[in-house]
């Protein structure tokens, strides 16, 4: 117990809060809400179950270093805490507004702010930043294109051949089942990944000397609390970007999940949130649905995430560093 210093306690608290913030911005179940496959109550129950089980069962195995290579300066506790807190603030703020953002985007924005503040232009690993930025631009484009194509193919070869309510109902039930399976798996692995990211901070700070089992349970619970308390509006907003049925939700969600999985496999930093939102916009376009004005708010906050997280980090850096030093 004597190893637990105030800075480690601070990291533990922050890891629990960041799990909450990530959960609050989790839109995984949005399409099941939009397609009326599940009610909000069912979504919250399932999301909680998968958040906790994912965190506990997968959390320990996964580890990741967010922002590696973006900073050209040495990482201190003050920098790490500032980055995390500004990410938390921006995540919770956007979740409260019901707008999905990329967590990595917010984190990198914060890191960029610190890098500029401490090291000026030279404090940033520009080549890495440009590489990441390219994927942030490509993520929504990929999501939009694959969903557009999938929907058109599905429409032509499956939906268009259905005749009568009964056939329609049977087909939609199959799509709903596949969709639900994919989403539950996504929620499970996403929770494991996100929670382990937040717990990874503590592992990094203690250099792996503390037992993280209990912490995984707490961060898992916090992640679930984030979904239950704050993610409702976000789930509703994303789920209603365009009119959804299980089949159309399938067209938006499943190819996106596959591409994301392949991206992870090949180490490509695609943004799940950006891809899903763009997929739904692409789906709306493919269905010739009227434009949703709310989409502009989402895209606007994407552009705002980067500078706002940076500004937040710049403002918080000195007070936090002073606190850490004392």
């Amino acid at each position: 117990m004597s190893d637990i210093t105030p800075i480690i306690i601070a990291f533990i608290v922050i890891s629990i809060i960041i799990a909450f913030a990530i959960g609050a911005n989790d839109e995984t179940f949005a399409v099941t809400y939009g397609s009326k496959t599940l009610t909000m109550k069912q979504i919250l129950i399932l999301a909680t179950i998968f958040a906790i089980t994912g965190a506990v069962l997968l959390g320990e195995a996964v580890s990741k270093t967010v922002g590696k290579g973006v900073l050209s300066i040495d990482l201190t506790d003050g920098i790490t805490i500032t980055v995390l807190i500004s990410t938390i603030i921006w995540l919770i703020l956007s979740s409260a507004l019901g707008l999905p953002i990329s967590t990595t985007h917010a984190t990198i924005g914060s890191i960029l702010g610190i890098g500029l503040l401490i090291g000026g232009v030279g404090g940033i690993g520009w080549s890495k930043l440009i590489e990441l930025s390219a994927w942030w631009i490509l993520s929504p484009i990929i999501g939009y294109v694959i969903t557009f194509i999938t929907y058109k193919l599905l429409h032509k070869h499956v939906i268009n051949k259905l005749n009568g309510f009964q056939q329609f109902e049977r087909a939609e039930k199959v799509f709903a089942l596949i969709l639900l399976t994919v989403i539950c798996w996504t929620a499970f692995s996403r929770s494991g990944n996100d929670v382990s990211n937040s717990v990874g901070i503590v592992v990094g700070a203690t250099e792996g000397t503390i037992e993280i089992g209990v912490l995984l349970i707490f961060t898992g619970l916090s992640f679930a609390a984030g979904i239950v308390i704050l993610a409702r509006t976000l789930i509703k907003n994303v789920g209603t970007i365009t009119e959804l049925r299980p089949s159309t939700a399938f067209a938006a969600q499943v190819p996106t999940a596959i591409v994301l999985f392949l991206g992870t496999l090949f180490g490509i930093p695609l943004s799940g949130s950006h891809m899903l939102v763009a997929s739904l916009i692409g789906l709306g376009k493919a269905q010739h649905a009227p434009k949703n004005k709310g989409n502009m708010r989402i895209v606007f906050i994407w552009f705002l995430t980067f500078p706002m997280a940076a500004i937040c980090a710049i403002i918080l850096y000195f007070p936090i560093s002073a606190l850490v030093l004392t």
């Binding site: 397609s35 496959t37 051949k161 259905l162 009568g164 309510f165 009964q166 049925r245 299980p246």
Partner: protein, 214 residues
């Protein structure tokens, strides 16, 4: 021998009963109107229409209960199915109104419009039969249901022309105001049922377009 029995959906079962009752009410009413035209109406025979309507109400309530509480249909189909059954029930209500009207005020039909009225009555029956067929086809065959909606539209158009032709003849008479009024009401109420049937068929056509098989 079938190893796997096909599951019976209670929703479809009730819907079939509901539609059969609607058709039965229409058949009874059609037959009684024919009797009225021939001057041999048995008022008690109209009770059948009222009983069928009551039965339809019960079935509708049961259907809605299963639809919303037991969730036997996919959510996106719930509102469409709900709308269809309430619209058909509304039309059956118009049938009942017509039956009650004839029951309350049986009257003689002018000889010179008898023939047209027989045709009009036949058209009424045909139109409702087409509509019930169309509703049944919606479950299994959008293409045929789509074709049916045009037949119903044609029935309504023909009925409209016939209605005005009969009104033309009727309003030139001056002998018995009550008989003129009651005959015009008979025509108008019958036309209302046909009009309601076309309203439902328009809605069904919209659904067929919405569900992407067209």
């Amino acid at each position: 021998m079938k190893l796997l029995k096909e599951k019976v959906n209670p929703l479809n079962e009730i819907n079939d009963k509901f539609l059969a009752k609607t058709l039965e009410a229409t058949k009874i009413l059609h037959d009684r109107i024919s009797d009225l035209i021939e001057g041999k109406l048995d008022k008690e025979g109209l009770k059948g229409v009222i009983l069928c309507e009551k039965e339809c109400d019960k079935l509708k309530e049961e259907y809605i209960k299963i639809l919303f509480k037991d969730k036997k249909a996919l959510p996106f189909l719930v509102e469409d199915r709900y709308k269809i059954i309430t619209m058909v029930d509304h039309m059956t209500g118009k049938n009942e109104l017509l039956a009650r009207f004839i029951r309350a005020f049986p009257f003689g039909i002018y000889d010179d419009i008898k023939e047209q009225l027989i045709e009009f009555n036949g058209l009424y029956h045909e139109c409702i039969k087409d509509l019930i067929d169309c509703v049944i086809l919606m479950e299994t065959n959008f293409d045929e249901a789509f074709e049916k909606t045009f037949e119903i539209e044609l029935d309504r158009r023909t009925a409209k022309k016939m209605k005005y032709r009969m009104f033309d003849k009727l309003y030139q008479k001056k002998d018995n105001m009550l008989q003129i009024y009651l005959t015009s009401k008979l025509i108008a109420y019958t036309y209302d049922v046909v009009d309601a049937a076309e309203g439902i068929s328009d809605y069904l056509r919209g659904l067929i377009i919405k569900y992407p098989s067209k």
